[in-house]
Structures are given as structure tokens and as C-alpha cells.
Amino acid sequence: MRSPESPVLTIDGLIKDVGPLASLDGKMLRVVSGLSMFAERGQITALLGANGAGKTTTLECAQGLQKRTGGRIGLLGEDPDTAGADLRSRVGVMLQDGGLPPSARPIPLLRHIAGMYRNPLPLDGLVERLGIDTFSRTGVRRLSGGQKQRLSLAAALIGNPEVLFLDEPSAGLDPQSRQIVFELIAELRDAGMGIILTTHLMDDAQRLADYVYIIDAGHNVAEGTVADLLSHGHEAMDGVTERTLFFDAPAGLDIAAAIGHELTVTESRAGSYAIAGTLTPQHLAKLTAWWAEQGIMPASLRLEARSLEDVFLDISGRDIR
């Protein structure tokens, strides 16, 4: 846990009910239940969770797009529900579904949005940097997912915002767009922007985030830097550090006989082994001694710490993908 220094967003005990829903006999559904977080200036803060965990709802409450049921939200120190044009001009938003009119063309659309600001960023730099010039004559309707995401990002940045919200920024991105977008996001962070993004992809969080909140069933269940979550955070939870040892060797070896039964041994393909659990140096010594005894030389050998996905599975008990 940390305490806020120069936060752009603080959320305290957010509650959001939706409904009434016919599928619940006309009852309300609580989609966010007591979520608390904050996001610092000059940092990328990720909300990581499975679909339906409440990430987008949280973001939309922070953006003033949905009225919260309870809790407090401070966006640049103001309440987003009563925000005026001045606050909106300091906040950039990239929605999950883009929010771009299908009949528009990229450049006139960006120029139109730029007109909403007194002193917008010059379009040329944004257009070139995000590669929009390569599809500037194509209507939004016919853009690929990656092109739409890049255009949405440009639209969110035109006002030179202090806070940038990105809802699933890598959704639909091809590898090239992903590279362009991720580099730019990191650069914006370095320039001092406070960036809040949601993702259900471990890889995004691991590559981009300075600080991660893991969201499950409408509230935050764990938080920390990626490194914290991978090591200390986990030890704090149950006092062990898990690793997995992968190696390729002749098929059908009785590994458990060699190193004992406290570890999980799997042979996913013939000759392709994974030993998972609380691996100790003693385990490795036993294993390599046994190999030497048997005259086995593995074709490959790789040791991995827990992935963020393992952390997530431990905490929420459900698959994120």
C-alpha cells in the first residue's frame, strides 16, 4: 500500500448499482461494491480484472458518464458528476468501443474535436505519430480495429489532457499498432500525464503499468507494482514463492520418484515437463544429481517465477482470459 502524493484521481468506496433488471426479478445489481484506488500524475495505473469485474463501470463513474450510487470520487480534485467544460478539457477519454461516428473521416473528425478546445495540440504531430496519415481518407466505418483505436487515442489527446483514461487500449490492436500505441502511452507518462487504463490482459499490465489494482467482483482485491504483486505481494498473502521449472528430456521419466511428492509434475507433451510449486535449491540439486546419475542431459531448461496471471488466479480463483 502507498499513500497519494500528487493524485489525478482518487476513488474512495465506490458503489454502483444498475437496474432494476428483469433477469433479477426487478432487483438492482451491484456492479461495483466498495472499490477504492488512486492514480498518480506521471504514472500508468492499471485496473486489471476479468470481463464483468466492474472496471469499465468504475472508469465511467470517474469520467462522469455514469452517476455513482455511493462513495467519493475526486478527478483533479473535482466531483466528476458536477464537472464543467473546464474539467472536461483537462481529461482525455478513450472509450472501449471508440465512440467515433461511422460516417466521419479521420482528419475532419479530429479537426472538429480540436475545435472544442481553446488551444488544442497541433493535429499534424498527432496524426503522423499515430500513423493516421496512412488511412486519413478512409471512413471510420471501414477502419480496422487497430486504426480505430489509434484514431480514438488521437481524439483523446487533442486537448493535451492532464489525465488520460484508456478503456482496454490494446483491444483489437495488431502487433504494429500495439507497438505504436504502447510507446506513445509510455512517453505520455514520462511527460507527466496521469494515465488510468483497464485491461484484462496480464501482458498489458506487465508491460505498461507502474501500479496495478486487481479488480474482482466489483472491488479491488490486491494492489501493488507488478514486481510487488509477483513477489512480495504474494508472500504477504500466503508466505510462499512459487516457481515453475520447464525442461525437455526423454519421455516417461518418473520425476516424482527423484525429487519427492510436494511438487506438481506434469508432462504436457511426451518429453516436455513442468515442475511447479515452492521450488527450493535442494529440489534443483536433487534433480540435477538424479539426471547425472541417469545420464540425462535435458534439451532445454527454463525456470520461471510466477506470472501476474498466477497471482490473479490465486486471488480471484477464476481465469482472467
Binding site: 469520467q63 462522469g64 458518464l65 467544460a85 481553446r118 495540440l121 512517453e187
Partner: protein, 258 residues
């Protein structure tokens, strides 16, 4: 691809003035509407067909004035319904589906600016319609009472307000496909039987008793009163006001932005 965006860490963009934001959005929506082929058919071609059709057929004979004098005010009312209700309703419904309303309401434009922009677009397209229909009607021999213009234009604006409120109410509460179906169906039903282009006395008995209370009938009849006789009938004004305020309040209450 490696150029650096000239971010400014101290000087912020700030919002443009409210007036500028609203006018920009109004211009943008107007251009979007008149560049859309289907919208143009609905807004200009169909009313022109109605005007010519009613002028060359004897449908309106025997009502005490020339065919074109009776037909034109109703066709202007039809224009208001096309643009404010069907056109605006469908456009808003699909903007809602694609998240355009949500995105724009996070920019300095905001929800108020968005609605104001839509109203400006409806009025701008209505002006274009009045110019086109008025010019063609003049060629066909339309002689409106000069003193009918002031109340006539006022009624058109009021009618457009009522139909905009109704269009936004439909667009904000049901799926866009349903908005498309409802607003097109009502356009045809009200256009044919709603007392808008065909005066109430030429409608079946059942329709006659209802149309005076419908926005279509109230607008059509009151515009005929204005342009044929130079008179304003307050009951129709009241009906149109009610059709503006009640659906308007309902839209404020139930409009779903996402």
C-alpha cells in the same frame, strides 16, 4: 513515426467558449445530415413529391382555396416531422449505439452542448427545407398570406421542438433498429392520416376526432390557418407546447446515454 508530440506540461488547452462549441457541433451535425442520402430523401425528396402530388391530383379540391395553397403549409409541417423526428431520431439512436454520445459528452462539448448542437442542426436543415419547398411551391403558384409568415415560422419552430423531443425520447430509450422502425412507421402513418398534409376534413371520421390532439394534426392545421387565413389558433399552440414539454421531460428522465 518517431516524431514527438509537442505536449505542453504547463499551458492547458482549455475549453473553447460555450457558444463556439455549440455552433461547431451544430454545423457538424447539419453537414452530417445533409450529406446523408437517406436523410436527404426523407427531408427534401419525399416532401417535394407530396407537394407535387397534392398539386396535380384533385385530392384537396373543394376546400375553399387552391390546391397548392392548401398543400404547401402541410408539406412544411411534414418537413419539420421528417427532420426533427425521423431524421434526428435515427441519427441519435445510432450515435448512441456507437458510443458517439458518450465520447462527445466527455469532451468540453458536454451533454448540454450536444443537445444544443442537435437543435441547431434541426433548425438549419428546416431553413433549407423551407427555402426549397417555398421556391418550388411559388413556382406552382403558392400565394401565402404575408401576415401568415411570422406565426407560420414560429409554429414551425415549435413543431420542430415537439418532434425533436419525441425523436430524442424514442432514440434514447429503445434500440436504434427499433428507433428506425418506429420513427419511419410513425412518419408514414402521421403523414398519411395524422392531419399533417391532408386536412382533417378529408380524413376518415375516426381519424378526424383524434388528429387535432396529435402534434402532426396540430402543426398541419395551425400552419394552414396561418398561411391561408393569417390567423393563429391558440388551442393548437397549446397542443404543440404539451407535446414539447411532456416528451421533453420524459426524455430528460429516461434518456439512456449508453
Amino acid at each position: 513515426m518517431t516524431s514527438t508530440i509537442p505536449l505542453r506540461s504547463t499551458h492547458h488547452a482549455g475549453p473553447a467558449t460555450l457558444m463556439r462549441r455549440i455552433l461547431l457541433q451544430g454545423r457538424y451535425e447539419t453537414l452530417t445530415m445533409i450529406r446523408n442520402g437517406e436523410q436527404l430523401i426523407l427531408a427534401v425528396i419525399m416532401p417535394l413529391l407530396a407537394l407535387v402530388g397534392l398539386t396535380v391530383t384533385p385530392l384537396l379540391d373543394g376546400l375553399g382555396a387552391s390546391r397548392v395553397d392548401i398543400a404547401t403549409p402541410g408539406v412544411l409541417a411534414l418537413c419539420a416531422m421528417s427532420t426533427a423526428f425521423t431524421g434526428q431520431g435515427i441519427a441519435t439512436g445510432f450515435d448512441r449505439r456507437y458510443g458517439v454520445l458518450r465520447f462527445l459528452s466527455t469532451t468540453p462539448l458536454g451533454r448540454t452542448g450536444l443537445i444544443a448542437g442537435k437543435i441547431i442542426a434541426v433548425l438549419a436543415v428546416l431553413v433549407l427545407q423551407i427555402l426549397v419547398i417555398g421556391a418550388v411551391a411559388a413556382l406552382l403558384g403558392w400565394h401565402p398570406r404575408p401576415e401568415g409568415w411570422l406565426p407560420g415560422l414560429g409554429l414551425l419552430v415549435l413543431g420542430a421542438a415537439a418532434f425533436t423531443a419525441l425523436g430524442l425520447l424514442v432514440a434514447g430509450t429503445v434500440r436504434p433498429e427499433a428507433t428506425l422502425a418506429i420513427t419511419n412507421l410513425l412518419w408514414i402513418l402521421l403523414g398519411a392520416l395524422g392531419g399533417i398534409v391532408v386536412p382533417a376534413e378529408r380524413l376518415p371520421d375516426l381519424a378526424q376526432s383524434i388528429v387535432h390532439f396529435l402534434p402532426s394534426g396540430a402543426l398541419g392545421q395551425s400552419l394552414r390557418d396561418a398561411f391561408l387565413h393569417g390567423s393563429v389558433s391558440l388551442p393548437y399552440v397549446l397542443v404543440l407546447l404539451l407535446w414539447t414539454v411532456v416528451p421533453g421531460m420524459a426524455a430528460v428522465r429516461w434518456f439512456k446515454w449508453n
